[in-house]
Amino acid sequence: MKKTILEAKNLSKSFANEGTQVHVLNNIDLKIYEGDFTVVMGASGSGKSTLLYNISGMDKPSSGEVIFDGEDITKLSEKKLAKIRAFSFGFVFQQIHLVNNLTLLENTLVPGYMDKSKTKQQVKERANSLFEKMNLSEAKDRLPSQVSGGEAQRGAIARAVINEPELLFADEPTGALNRSNTRNVLDLMTELNKDGQSILMVTHDIKSALRANRLIYIEDGKIGGEMDLKPYHSLNLNDKAEIKDRETQVNSWLSSMNW
C-alpha cells in the first residue's frame, strides 16, 4: 500500500478572460504517492502546468483543497506556505530561473541556509555532494550566465533538493534544453527518484514521460486517465528491447487518450 503525500480534492481553477470565465481545471481529484515518479501529460492548454502550480502552492486554486501533511495548503498564511516551499517542496521550472548575481553553488545554498536545524558546514557539504553527483563541481562557482543551459538546470535541481524535500515538482524541466542536456537532466531526476525522492513532473515530451512509474493524462482540465509502469531505474538500460517495449506501451496508451 503506497503512502499518499499530497492529495488534491475537487480542485478547480478559472481565469477571467475578457468578461468570460475560462475553466482551466475542473474538479480534479488526485493523489501523489511517496517514492513515485509521477508524470502529468497533456496537450498544450490542457491545464497540466496550472495543475502543478496549484497543487504545489505556487498559485491559489479557485476552489478545492490540497492536503499536505494533514493541512489544506490553499488556506495557509503566506509565512506557512513559504516554509513549506522552503523545506517540504522543491520546484524546478521550465525556464532556468536562477538568481543571476549568485553563483550556482550560492543559488543552492540560499534555501539551504534557511534551514536553522543545519549548520553552515552541513549545508555546504550537502550542496557539494549534490554538485558532485550532478557533475557540476567545476561549474559551481560560476554565475548562471557563465554556464550552459544544462548545467544551469542541474544547478536549479540541486537548489530544489538541497533541503531534501518530500516532493519535487518539475514543470517541463527539459523544455528549454538541447538533446544532450535533456538526457543529463532526466538521468539526474531518475537517479534522485531511485534514491527515494518523490517527483511530480509535467511534460509533453514522451522521452521524459518514459522516466515515470505513474503517468497521468489531463485533458480540458480533467484527468483523462492514468497508467502505472515499472520504475525506470529498475529497467535494464542496456536492454534496448525493454526500453522499446516501454516506449510502445506509453505511445499506445497516449494514443488511446487521443494524444
Binding site: F93, H97, V99
Partner: protein
Amino acid sequence: MVNVMRDMMLITKGNFRKNKGAYIAVFILMFIVSVCFVSVISVVRNTHKHNKKAMEDTGLGDMLIWCAEYNITDFNEAKTELSNRLENCDAISEVKAIDQIETYITDINGKEYGNTIFLTSCDSNLVSYKIFDGDGNPVTDPELNSREIIVPISFTTMFNVDIGDTFTIGRADYKIDVTIKYFFEDPYMGTQIMGVKTLLISDADFAYIRENYKDANIAFADSVLLSLKKKDSDMSDMKFEKQINKDTNVSAYGWVSLTKTQSSYYMMLLLDVFSGILVGFIVLLVIIAIIVLGHNISNSIEKDYVNYGIFKAIGITSKKLKMSIMIGYILTCILGFVVGIPVALPVIKVVNEILRPIGGTYVETSFDIGMSLLAMLAILLVVGLYIMLKVSRISHVTPVRALNEGRADVHFSSVLRLPLSKKLLNTSLAYRQLISRKKQYISAVIITALLVVFMVLINQSLSWLSGGDEKIMSALFDPISYDLSISGETADELEAKKKEINELVESISGYKEVHLMSKYVLLDDAKIHCQIIDDPEAVFNLHKGRTCLYDDEILLTDYLSRELGKGIGDTVTVGDLDEKQEYIIVGLTYTGNDAGKSFMMNCEGYERLNKDVKWTWRVGYYSIDDESKIEEIVDSINEKYGDFGISAKAYGNDVDGDPISLALNGISVVIYVLSAIFIIITVILVSGKMFEREKKDYGILKACGFDSGKLRSQFALRFMFASFVGSLLGIIIAIISGERIMELIFSMFGILHLEFSFGAPALIIPVCVMALMFYVFAYLVSGKIKKVNTRVLVVE
C-alpha cells in the same frame, strides 16, 4: 512642419502615457523647487525693499548718532556745541535732534535685559514710526495713556511678551512699570539681532521722567538722537560717516552711531544668512531633481528601446525622438513651476509671519515675479541642456540593434563580493544585490551624499549654538571664555558686595575673574565697537599674533582687519571725545560681536583716551576651577545677594531661545522634511525600475521559501546600504569642505576664521536619519513585492 510637430506631439503623448509615474515625480520635484525658490526670493527681496522704504518713511536721515548724558561731562553744552558743528558741516543737508531718554529693562518676564534702551516720545514730530496692533494691523492714530509703551515686534520672541504685558524700566531705586499697548516697526534697529532698542512712550510720560528723574542718570539719562542727511545723495554712507567725523568729531560724543547702510546690514543679517543657507539647499534640491530627471530619462529610454527602433524603422529621426522627450520633460517642469508659484503665496505669508519678530519689520505678502521667473528660466535652461545630454544616446539606436533589445548580458564580478552568510542571509543577499547592480544606486548615493553634507553642517551649527562643551558659542560671540557671570543692577551695588561675593566663590572653588566693557569709539574716523578688558591674557579667540599687553596695543577682528586693509604691525588712530591716539595692531581675533566690526584694548589703553575714566564694573565674568561647582555658586549668590539687586548666571542659560538657534532649528526642520520628500521620490523612481527588473528574482526567491516580509526587508536594506555609502561620501565632503562652507556662512556674521572639528552627533545624526528614511520608504514602496506571484516564472 505641421507633420513634424504632429509626429512629435504624438510621440510625446505616448511618452506621457507610458511613463506617467516618472513625469509625476518630475512634476512634484519641480513644484517643490518652485515653491521654495519663489518663496525665498520673494521674502528676501520684499524685505530688503520694504526695509529701505520703511527707513525713508520714518523721516530719519542717512546717519544716526545716539549721544547720552552720562557719557559727556556737560551734556547741554556739548549738545549746543555739536549742533553748531553739524550745522556748519558742508556734507550735511539736514540735522534733526530728537530728544530721548536712555534707560534699561530691569525686569521683563523675570529677566534683566543688559542692553541699552532709548525712550522716544510717541508724539515727536521729528520721527514717524508705523504702529501695529497685536494682529499686525496698522494703527493710524495710536492713543497712548500714561505708563503705556510701544515696543518693537521683536520683543515677542526676545522676551516672550505680548500686548498687555507689563515690564519694568529704570534701575536701582528709580523704576517704572510700563504696559505694552502696541508694536511698532523700527527699520533701523528693530531686529532681534541688535541689542540696543528704541521704545515709544507718551509725551506725558516722557516729560514726567525727564522732570522727576533728572538726577537719576544711572537709571534715566538724557539723550539725543542726531539724524543727519547727506547733501550729496551719491556719496557712500562710509565716506559720509568719515567726512562727518573728520569735520565735526561728532561721533566721538555719541554713544553709538549707525549709517543707513550699517543699519540695513544688521537688519537683514539674519535673513540674508538664513536665506543664503536655504538658497544653497534649494540649489542642492535642483541638482537632486536633475539627477532624478536623468535617472528617469535613462529609464524611459531603456524601457522604450525597442519602440525607438520601430520608430526609426518607419522613418522617424533621432532628432524628433529626442525633441519629443525633451518637450515632455520641459512641459512637466514648466507645469511644476507654474503650479508652484501660487502655492508659494501662503508660504511667503507664513515665512513673513515667522520672520516678523526676528527681523522686526512688517513686510507685505507678495511675489517678486521678475526675479522668480528669472530663476525658473535659469533652472529650465540647465534642465534643458541636461536633457539634451541625456537623450543623445537615442542617436546611437539602430532599428536592428533596438529590435534585438540592444542589451548585452551582464556579467557580474566585483572585488566587493562577499560570501553569503547563513546567520545574516537577508543582509548578505541584500548586499549582493546592491553591489551587483551598483549603477542603479548611484543616484541614491549621490543624493544622500549631498543631503548629508548639508545636514552635517546644519547640525554642527546647531550644536555650536546650543553651547556644547567646547563653548564654541563663546568663541563666536564672546571674547572670553567663562563659566558664570555675576551682575548688579548698578556697578555700585556690585562693587559694595564684591569682596564678600568673591570670598563666597573662593570658599566653594578657586576662580579667575575678568571684566569687560563695551564702548563705541572712533577707529580711523568710523564709530566701531570696542571691548575693553582688564585682563588681556583672558582673550579666548585670538588666532594670530599676541594679546594686547601694553597701552598702545589693540586687537582687531579678521573682519575689521580686512575692512581697514590693516594687519599686525600696522597703526590705527582711535578717538573718544576730543582725544585721539595711535595704536599698534598686535593680534587678530574672531568674534560675532557687532557682526565682526569690533576690536579690543586693555584698560591702560583706554586710559590714554580718557584719563579720568573710573573703572567700575557692573558684571564680573568668572572662570571656575572646579566646573562641577558652578551651579552651587550660582545658587548661593542668588540666594544670598538676590535681594541686593545682584544675580549670578551660569554660561549658556539663555542660549535656547536665541534667534539664530531658533531660525537654524526651523531651517533644519525644513531641510529634513524636504529631504524626506526627495528621498521618497528617489526611492519610488529607482525602485520602480529595479522592481521590474527583479520581479523574476522575487518569484524565484518566493519559490525557494522566502516570504514577502523577508524580501521587502532585503529590498529596503539595499537602499539603507546605499544611503550608508552616500552618507560616508557626504561626511568626507563635509569634513574636507566644511570649514570653508562654514566660514562662508559665518563670514556674514563677521567671523572669518573658525577653528573647529565636527562633533560625533553632528555626523551620526544625519547618517542615521538618512538610513532610517531610506529603509522605511523603501520598505513601504516595496509593498508590491507581496503581489509577486511565482506565476511570473511560468511560461505558458
